[in-house]
Amino acid sequence: MLAVHPVQEAFRYLPVLVGVLFIGGRGQGHLWSLIGLGLAVAGGLLRWFTTTYQITPTHVRVRRGLLRRQELSVPRDRVRSVDLTAHPMQRLLGLNRVVIGTGRADRGQEGVTLDALARAEAAALRGELLRRSPAVADVGTGAGIEGGGPIPATDAFAITTLVPSWIRFGPFTLSGIATIGVVAGSLANLFNESRVAPREFGLLRAVADQLASVPAGVAVAEVAVATAVVVALLSAIAYVLAFWNFRLTRQNGTLHVARGLLTTRSTTIELRRLRGAEISEPLLLRMVGGARCLAITTGLRVGLGAEHGGSILLPPAPLPEARRVAGEVLGDSGPVTAALTRHGRRARRRRHVRAFAFAALVTGFFVLMWWLFGWPAWQWQASCALFGIGALLAEDRYRNLGHALVAGRLVFRGGGLVRRRHMLASEGVIGWTVRRSFFQRRAGLVTLTATSAAGHQHYSTVDIPVSEAIALADAATPGLLTAFLRRPPS
């Protein structure tokens, strides 16, 4: 057990070591690399020796550092989530990394992280941390475990598991674009390091010669099709890597998400920390009837991209499945399926005016440049297409806009390129912001924002008519706005 952490460190630098021994070859380069490796291993060893943790009845304590001693202490009732991850090397060595989410909103703080705990130890730690102390249990949702016995594994309820046919949604997530960037970057680096010109490779030369021999239009089309195919393929692979064995279960007042093909990740969220759910449909995914479901909860970092940190409840899957999962998680399908109130004619006009203004600005700029400086005419001719595209997007954005208050949950829907439906419990609302731009004031519309300690910290709906906005806010948080309402003389 003691040796495991440095071993992991050495494995991590294995590619470097291989590179040094087999590629470099000349000069003193590989002596220095070996010294670097030695230092890395020594550093890992030191980190291992100096990190200790302790779970007391009231606190979680982590102590680390040799020269700069650091001690972290978190009250146990502030533990919101426990996240276990294991990348392939850690799996090989039977290890897990444990991240304890404590609900601090400042993103720079990583929470409490314990790298490289033995798998059994990590699981025991999670059980221990999420077993509520009696003092906390009676504040919770009621079904808490009194006395803190071990969690019985009998009443786990599987909400959903990955169906292999969902992988068809993978290509529409475009997560492959990032992979292409990484691969292209490391290839360029490799060519650079090894001082081999790309033209010396037969395959690349053949491709380059073929592209040079056909007309430019055909070459562009070829490259575009090839890129699309590669992106689709890589996105599908990324989907499988991230979400294979995806499983969402509910057990003892917690939600449990496990997933991953090579790097496994399992996240546990306390239901009493859950403030709502989000169904998000990026445009491409929406066109093929897919959607994701995310948790809105305090204490989980909110990431970007396909993985969304720990908050994902359902990977891209058919929309009905996303709705079902959201309903299960919220304990009520009302907010998920309820029809929403549209924002009306003026909101629609604003969407269209904004799209039109943008297209006019761009086209106007190109016309001016063409007229004054003789820029090519095809630029402003092409940008005329923005008017059509803009009108379509504006209409779509308007149709997506909507709000409702269903069974104590605030429902906002909006967005075009990514349509999102947020369902936020009204007790999770900890403040309101009513924003009016100059043009919104003239149209009698406002942007209503509910601030929250969970998820993205704020959830907004744009261009909602003012009296509907205030009525909605007043109904969601009864009493809070009463003193500030203007009652028109009756």
Binding site: R78, I430, G431, R435, R436, T451, I470, F484, R486
Partner: protein, 165 residues
């Protein structure tokens, strides 16, 4: 609500300190002075010629308009109110914003004074909640008012229980 009635929030009850007008003007003037100084330097050192003179004139006119209109407009918009249940503010000028934070969800109350604000004996009050996006700012308060309000809010916050999320 009967037909034809518009339900809306009324503006908060209290205006900020009258000295805030001067403060906003001074702050904006400092910004404009930097731009003007750069342009003058260019005019004398470099060889800007007539176009630069026109730019200089345009800048001066824009600066004057901004200095005359913005502080007054802002002063009329900036308002605040604190009740036992909530803090309510209105801010902005071109774009306006009203924020409401329940007292039971308040986490910290700070007063802050920059050098320029100290010259006008003004203070900013910031009320934060557990949401990273929820802070309520009251700019340009009279120093005494700000301190009294901060103490009052801190006392009320202590009375409410829970971790305010």
């Amino acid at each position: 609500m009967t037909a034809g009635e518009i339900l809306d929030l009324r503006p908060p009850a209290n205006l900020v300190s009258g000295r805030a007008v001067l403060y906003w003007a001074a702050r904006a003037a400092l910004g404009w002075l930097i731009v003007l100084a750069a342009e003058l330097l260019w005019l004398f050192v470099g060889d800007g010629g007539r176009p630069l003179g026109v730019v200089l004139l345009a800048t001066t006119v824009a600066a004057l308009a901004h200095l005359i209109v913005m502080p007054q407009w802002r002063y009329r918009v900036h308002r605040w109110e604190a009740t036992p249940e909530a803090v309510y503010t209105q801010s902005g000028w071109f774009n306006q914003e009203r924020r409401i934070a329940p007292v039971s969800r308040i986490q910290t109350v700070d007063t802050k004074r920059g050098p320029l604000e100290r010259a006008f004996s003004l203070a900013n009050l910031t009320v934060t909640t557990a949401s990273a996006r929820g802070p309520v700012h009251i700019h340009g308060l009279d120093l005494g008012t700000a301190q009294r309000l901060a103490a009052e809010l801190a006392a009320r916050t202590q009375a409410s229980a829970g971790d305010a999320t």
